[in-house]
Assembly symmetry: D2
Homo-oligomer: 337 residues x 4
Amino acid sequence: MIVVMRNGAPRESVAAVVERVKELGFQAHLSEGEERTIIGIIGDKRPQNEHVFRLMEDVEKVVHILRPFKLASRDFHPLDTVVPINGHSIGGNQVIVMAGPCAVESREQFLETAYAVKEAGAHILRGGVFKPRTSPYSFQGLGEPGLEMLAEVKERTGLAIISEVMAPEQVPLMAQCADILQVGTRNMQNYNLLHALGEAGKPVLLKRGMMSTMEELLMSAEYILSHGNYRVMLCERGIRTFETYTRNTLDLSAVPVLKQATHLPVVVDPSHATGNWEWVEPLSRASIAAGADGLLIEVHPHPDKALSDGTQSLRPERFAELIQRARAVAEAVGRSL
Amino acid sequence: MIVVMRNGAPRESVAAVVERVKELGFQAHLSEGEERTIIGIIGDKRPQNEHVFRLMEDVEKVVHILRPFKLASRDFHPLDTVVPINGHSIGGNQVIVMAGPCAVESREQFLETAYAVKEAGAHILRGGVFKPRTSPYSFQGLGEPGLEMLAEVKERTGLAIISEVMAPEQVPLMAQCADILQVGTRNMQNYNLLHALGEAGKPVLLKRGMMSTMEELLMSAEYILSHGNYRVMLCERGIRTFETYTRNTLDLSAVPVLKQATHLPVVVDPSHATGNWEWVEPLSRASIAAGADGLLIEVHPHPDKALSDGTQSLRPERFAELIQRARAVAEAVGRSL
Amino acid sequence: MIVVMRNGAPRESVAAVVERVKELGFQAHLSEGEERTIIGIIGDKRPQNEHVFRLMEDVEKVVHILRPFKLASRDFHPLDTVVPINGHSIGGNQVIVMAGPCAVESREQFLETAYAVKEAGAHILRGGVFKPRTSPYSFQGLGEPGLEMLAEVKERTGLAIISEVMAPEQVPLMAQCADILQVGTRNMQNYNLLHALGEAGKPVLLKRGMMSTMEELLMSAEYILSHGNYRVMLCERGIRTFETYTRNTLDLSAVPVLKQATHLPVVVDPSHATGNWEWVEPLSRASIAAGADGLLIEVHPHPDKALSDGTQSLRPERFAELIQRARAVAEAVGRSL
Amino acid sequence: MIVVMRNGAPRESVAAVVERVKELGFQAHLSEGEERTIIGIIGDKRPQNEHVFRLMEDVEKVVHILRPFKLASRDFHPLDTVVPINGHSIGGNQVIVMAGPCAVESREQFLETAYAVKEAGAHILRGGVFKPRTSPYSFQGLGEPGLEMLAEVKERTGLAIISEVMAPEQVPLMAQCADILQVGTRNMQNYNLLHALGEAGKPVLLKRGMMSTMEELLMSAEYILSHGNYRVMLCERGIRTFETYTRNTLDLSAVPVLKQATHLPVVVDPSHATGNWEWVEPLSRASIAAGADGLLIEVHPHPDKALSDGTQSLRPERFAELIQRARAVAEAVGRSL
């Protein structure tokens, strides 16, 4: 952390900052420029609150030098984290595809989709029973009764299951039947939920908030990691911008940027990002070309009858084509799928 | 809802949409333009899922005509909702000021601030014990032990209390000692929490998500209203934009726009929006001039020693000045403070 | 400027940066922390290109300490700049109101509006003859023939005139008949135009780009100032965000932030920001309460017949009411109008 | 266009809108729903100004049904536009790579880069002589003296040249020596410039404004097309969002969305979008996988000595690797490079 003094700050103001730095157990390193005096704060811990200095007389601003996440950073853990799921490895050479309906609607619909995505080549089955919906009048998911269906379909198809949790009390229930617990975009900063997931003992897929920075995404991962759970995967799913032709703006730069900043696997969800099935395939290919470790894709046997997100769901036959084309790109960049 | 067909859509595709509209229990109203055929969907309920039509052959897009909120709209309830709190009325002629520290840090700090803001003219005392923080390493609030302090300070000062809840299980606890339950910006779409607040029997102040549209804010209010709680206040606290000189961008247009769209009171929090105490006073005045029903302001007796948000906290003496100047503006627009 | 080295950067990499700093004529100030070594760059000029250092071995990032604008900053010119226009002063105690139609449509329409806004209390008359329009099929303004009307109406009403220029070749023409040359939001970074305005010898009102930060606005002002024209006024007119209920999001925080950062007057245009005449009055009042030096408001005698921007134009009688109410707020904050 | 009446609008208000529609030469199509009456406006032209209706008594809103661009739309021109340049075709099966320095700095630097990118496999050479820079104190390009260098290097290397124009008066000069005239992101809505390019008789590469929607990009293309120049290419180069880890946010969804909406070729510039050479290669591959017709990439023989944008420039040897890897992806999606 660096404290920048105002132009012409008197000697006493500078001395006061230096004094405060020492009081707090750090060393102060003074540097007098032509226009500004700056004071570096040095120590083996990091000062928590910049306003301690920011509010002192003649301080112009406080500049952070270090990124605030630790356990999630490559500095801390240089090698890629690989999360093993049911015989597959997320974060390794293979690109992993998770597919299925937005919401589990019935035993039949979920089973039909499960077999279809398995046949097409998906590695993991997605399906929500707790659904966050903007309107209180929309279908909210089957809730706890849906958990049984997750368990049954998992057993019958042999596919690992990823499913969303929305509240701390759902975590232990879901941990019994799902292989990956998903945090949705609106809950990325639901800290009570993150805390519970840190103690869940199950892999977590953490979706980026639709208006969260990559740094905030990594800080939310840090919550889970710092509570003891190291099996965390990040998911880029589109951010909110001024553009309205797509539902959100898929931020594919996040793939190489996150792969550089962190050791955690990075998955992309092109279905929610675009909101339109027609654009899911080209962006699935692009995600792999950019270096993604996995894809999360919505598939529904009858999109026009879906209870949620039908517009962005692929029919199984189109999903099968997507897998073929995505595999060609994976191979072109030296990976398998 | 209106279905727009593609240019040159064949007669059969149009007929299929009309058929589907009728199957779902609505009437179809056909309108053939020079470039496009459009189909209006008419009925006494609203079709829930646009993708039912969006995915049909030759459909170009689906356009919503009605806003999706009902109980929150002025159409439904033309008169202003007024929420009485401890002898004050929020949403009436008087501008209500809620002030206090971001976080309750100790019995002494909270009591000292409470007396100071009361003397300066604040109507309601704010103070958080459950604190959502971006970093797991930051101070997270006193938690349940802090509830007792809320109750004690309330009794000693006679001030009503507003305090944040972060999870459904905190709602009944907080309802026992606070007069207003606050939903923070990161929890605006925490639907489990909103559901619990709908059943809490206490007034709620719902902060706009920093990434949320006004329509989404009203839909989140709709969750609370539709679960039986009509005492809901909205709070504009700044939205996230590309600008970095301020912490967030205070969207003051939201005040007149929301007052037109809904009957619920609208409060403004200039402290979180700007992130800098120097800009809180001018924006407090501007909020009142724009028509706000109340202000939510951070005050701390020793901002440089605050455990959170010190940079944006006012010292009590500056807060007292703010009240004086804000009162002059309130009177200039025909209100009291 | 500060160069931050990567964690564990070898001694040679640090030495190489220090060497380069000296080669470029600056002094290097080394500071070795627990996790990072940082190098301050000191000198009486500022290094122009951060990539010179950013691309060196083991450099993690380069941090700017100083804001990049000089002539526009309060450091350089601590007192408020006041721009005298036709007997009025912009940037002084009085709040100045500039009003009139978006576009000059005819001699009659412009003259009628001019008399109406003068009677209502406006100080300066606005009216565009060069109109930037998103669609090539929309009315583009009267062009050069409209200049004569500006001159005539100015003479008959005695009002000073503000009007937009879109290209360098329009600057000398417009400088002959207008008192203030306006730069529109889409041209804020049209550097050829800014250069021409720096040499125009006339006051300039520079509108913030709807996609521009305050820092970029000040850098564009710097272009005009550095080419010799010191009579520059800044105008906040709404920025682009994800919100769609308003045309743009009026960033009223920009008023106190800019007034702190620069000595230049700050004007607000609530008409373009909201895009709806119903919200112009409350936001005009709010602008004054926030500290604006002036308002820019669209008025049209027959908004429903306007050739552009009718939705946000006030009828003259509503504008007269606005002036009354805005004056009350101006007086409440110690100013006149 | 559809006019939506307020809930409970009286019969006379509806009749007045219908009357106005007819006066303007359109047909009105009335549709009475349970909650709202809506009026469709039908005709062979499009009403230009929504406020004509928006401002009438009891009108709630006006909804646009058609997209506002015509010549740029696939409806108007279903087949892909292919732009031939110097023996290459942009918009056909081959992915075209345009590469070179941000700015031409000297004859030697430009010639060295030209030979290097040619050898690596680039098809077209980029190099700016007119440079839009945020700061008036930064290098602004060589200006007109640089045009000669463009001509010389073009002749010696046989490469076609793309270079930026910033003002109408530069268009005829640049048209003499460059093969493609580039419009920069800050000039996307410089309508005087677009008009001049419509009459330039040379292919144009139109960069998306960093805070412009795809619809506005297409409307700016419409300006050029409607003034007679059909050889227009669109370029996605990153949009401005709240994310700060990258310079801008590359919107790769724009590739499939634009390819569906328009017949014009779509090129991607990953250098400006990311602002960091390390991320250019993965996003170049992703662009091709998403369906881009071309890439625009910054290459500099000595990035740390570049006078602008060095941080995002690739060294020639890294660019050669990029070409190899990009070619593998192009082939995986059925294209050549």
